[in-house]
Assembly symmetry: C2
């Protein structure tokens, strides 16, 4: 037995070396992607695409090769501690999904997505769905085929969803989205019927350079670690990196200084999760973040529960006034109202308030679920999309550009991604409530700009665990109960009830 244990221990070491190599190749890909969005000169694309696909191929071969298969086989009956078992569980899951899909199909999907992306851009620019439709149809079929390779006996959409959220299950997503729809549709109707008139304190122009300084101020206020991060501009803001180097991006609109700040705080939330991962586990699942639901919970917690709160603006408005004297007359309450206004006519997901946001997600979820199941034909997407907007949001897009063509995800071949946005928001409320249970009400500390305790709580209960727990276990560990939308619904009902005088 001792010899067998020693043998397993040696195998585990070799396995970890391979796991770290795959992870590091993945980190290199992330950096190349960051550079492409933020730094790369315009005509660099042909070389960059080839670099990225070479790294993908290397990574795929390392993950699905005989060496990995051998380790996983040998470790299947090894006596592992909890951390080792978690690493094996996560790697095995990725191995099995990757190994079941033929390399040819992976390449075809990646190539079709590469072709689809410029067509989507063109279709959106020209407001002509027919330009994108044929490639969308190909992608739908290819991703259905992909899902069937992974598991021919299950709903292919459920299989695809697990690429983004592996453990909560599509049932949870579906129940949550149904609950959100059922509760939020009447709430939004009440808001629309309300006479409340929310403040609009931001008039005129806010120059980009000063907005950037303000974005740096907000990161300072929240406690961003500049020694392990940086802020740049990107057309579609994102965050990327690892615990030693987690970067954020934002974008500026000279008529809307809140937009850049909100997106900066959102990306800060992602980055602060990444920076809270344990240094010593860099390169293995114990040092990597727990998929998209949890990641989005961190960005939404900071964006919504901190950044869109009145106490936050009591703290931060003076910094804004220093940079932009034209808002001298605004009160924290004014900015709080502006940051939480439910616009009657907004058709665009990324510009939505935190309430109607979920109606945007519900539409996409219902549409892509039926697309993958085959109940909905690609050609019928625009009409079904517009009908659902009318039903859930009371507004009907007049163009496909601001309708079903607004989001990039499908052109990447990503189906099943959208629900994680809502799950993340819901989890943010649950985690924030649990943090307040442990720490007491946080409003006063937000008002003082003291975020250390919240950071510490999130690090202790979420970040430091990496992928040690599955998503559901992590929620249970951190909050003492299972995943639930109750806290989110209470939070928005109270917040918007007060804002719109619904009580």
């Amino acid at each position: 037995m001792a010899t067998e244990a020693a043998q397993h221990s040696e195998t585990y070491e070799e396995f970890i070396t391979l796991v770290e190599r795959i992870s590091n190749v993945g980190s290199a890909q992330s950096l190349l992607n960051w550079d492409q969005e933020v730094m790369m000169p315009e005509e660099g694309t042909p070389a960059r695409s080839k670099q990225l696909s070479a790294l993908s191929a290397v990574s795929h071969e390392l993950l699905t090769g005989e060496e990995m298969a051998g380790y996983l086989d040998e470790l299947a009956d090894a006596d592992l501690d909890a951390e080792q078992a978690a690493v094996v569980r996560e790697v095995r899951r990725k191995y099995e999904r990757a190994a079941r899909v033929p390399t040819d199909l992976v390449e075809t999907i990646s190539q079709t997505a590469a072709e689809a992306h410029p067509l989507w851009k063109e279709a959106k620019a020209e407001d002509d769905f027919s330009i994108f439709a044929p490639k969308l149809e190909e992608l739908v079929e290819l991703k259905r085929e992909y899902a069937e390779h992974i598991d021919p006996d299950r709903d292919p959409y459920a299989v695809l969803f697990e690429d983004y959220e592996p453990y909560l299950g599509l049932d949870t997503a579906e129940e949550t989205l149904t609950e959100l729809r059922d509760e939020l549709v009447p709430l939004v109707e009440d808001i629309r019927a309300s006479d409340a008139d929310l403040a609009t304190p931001f008039e005129g122009e806010f120059d980009e350079a000063t907005q950037e300084e303000l974005a740096r101020d907000v990161l300072d206020t929240l406690g961003y670690d500049w020694d392990r991060g940086r802020l740049d501009v990107a057309p579609h803001p994102f965050s990327t990196g690892n615990q030693f180097d987690a970067r954020v991006t934002t974008r500026f609109d000279e008529s809307d200084p809140l937009g850049a700040l909100t997106s900066t705080v959102h990306e800060f939330g992602h980055a602060t999760y990444t920076l809270g991962l344990p240094d010593e586990h860099y390169g293995t699942p114990l040092g990597e973040s727990r998929d998209l639901t949890v990641h989005e919970s961190q960005s939404r917690l900071w964006e919504n529960h901190v950044g869109r709160s009145e106490p936050f603006w009591q703290r931060f408005l003076p910094s804004m006034r220093e940079r932009f004297p034209q808002v001298d007359d605004a009160t924290p309450r004014d900015v709080y109202e502006a940051a939480n206004t439910v616009k009657e006519d907004n058709l665009i997901r990324v510009e939505a308030d935190e309430l109607t946001y979920h109606m945007h997600i519900v539409v996409r979820f219902e549409v892509e679920k039926e697309l993958i199941s085959g109940e909905l034909d690609v050609e019928d997407v625009p009409e079904v999309w517009n009908d659902k907007y009318e039903e859930y949001l009371g507004i009907r897009p007049e163009t496909d550009a601001e309708g079903c063509l607004q989001d990039i995800h499908w052109s990447h071949g990503s189906f099943g991604y959208f629900p994680t946005y809502s799950l993340g928001s819901v989890l943010a409320a649950q985690l924030y409530e649990a943090a307040e249970d442990d720490l007491g009400a946080l409003d006063e500390r937000t008002r003082e700009g003291e975020f250390d305790e919240l950071h510490a709580w999130l690090t202790e209960n979420v970040h430091q665990h990496g992928c040690l727990y599955t998503t559901d276990d992590l929620v249970q560990e951190a909050t003492g109960e299972g995943f639930t939308a109750d806290y989110f619904l209470d939070y928005v009902t109270e917040k918007y009830g007060e804002l719109y005088d619904l009580h």
Copy 2:
């Protein structure tokens, strides 16, 4: 035979796919290195080092694996055209060098260099050679061992030199450096004895932001392709990339606006070579630059023959005056003199004029050659170094920080690199002369800021060939004769004779 040819053609295709993959992994490494120098936050190093070493390991395994060995074996007797044969020649050369060195030794060298680098920095900062000496000794021994694995029957220094210049041969380097030493030592003595008093038009402070605008102006003037490049700041200026994305860096000294401009023009020369490589051969040796001698010839040609010429300053001084009104009184001749002043007391290679520069190289060459052969002990390096400075340059360093510790190369384990700097300068003169033979005198066009013909000549005769030719054949093709220092010696004799009134 037809079947065999078809078989070879299929093998060649598969071989190229593997070659491209290795090249793309290398390009990813270059980008990670660029990012580390230019963008990465301070504490990102632990993760970045692991990413880089994972990519090195992947690259090494792909290059030396069975798959590559099989292709090279099969292609050895295949009927290949000239381009295919060149690709096989270049890859085989790299394969053989890499495959002969045990992976353990490669890793030990890389680890020792990683440990040596901070010790070198500390030794330089504290002016204490003994801090660096033990690691330097290890590196010397390891690199000797490395060379012996590649070829036990040859001078190890000659083998190391071929990592940087594979085809010209150490004999050519040695003859060239001896010739430079013999011709330039008396020339420098004449200059020191001369009464000529060269102009010093740059007094006072030149702020960094304006210097950066001026660096952009100079790149505009020379015809840098901003759609395929960018300019950033780095502590040690360098250029990196590929034909779709070739970036330059520079650094600024507020008391010396010429320094940043000269280094920008130098890096522009490197980048313009890279940008002249054929797009369609990206990822194979036909789309990659011909090693360090030729690369340095391109940077030196633009730096010295263009950027340090009087016609260039007739063109560019007005731009400088616009940015810095304090140089309103300077004439092009003044700047030309300032850019070519042979300072009596300069001990620093990177600050040397284009004449004494080679004496700095000769010292390093002679020292490292004896270090690798074992004739010189590490502990004796400072004294031998200082003696040689006295002999060749008439000055003696008072500290090791400005003596044998000034350059970074040995701390990287690079021995045999320095001679390529001189070979490149020499080749620059030979190529510039050949260009003038074909195009007529270029001064007038420089004065007009018309560089298209020179670009076209260099692209046609050098850049577009990638690694199709070996270095010696490329020189022959481009200039109609073998590599020679004659043109360089004529050029500096005439230029400095005029500047210092030696006729």
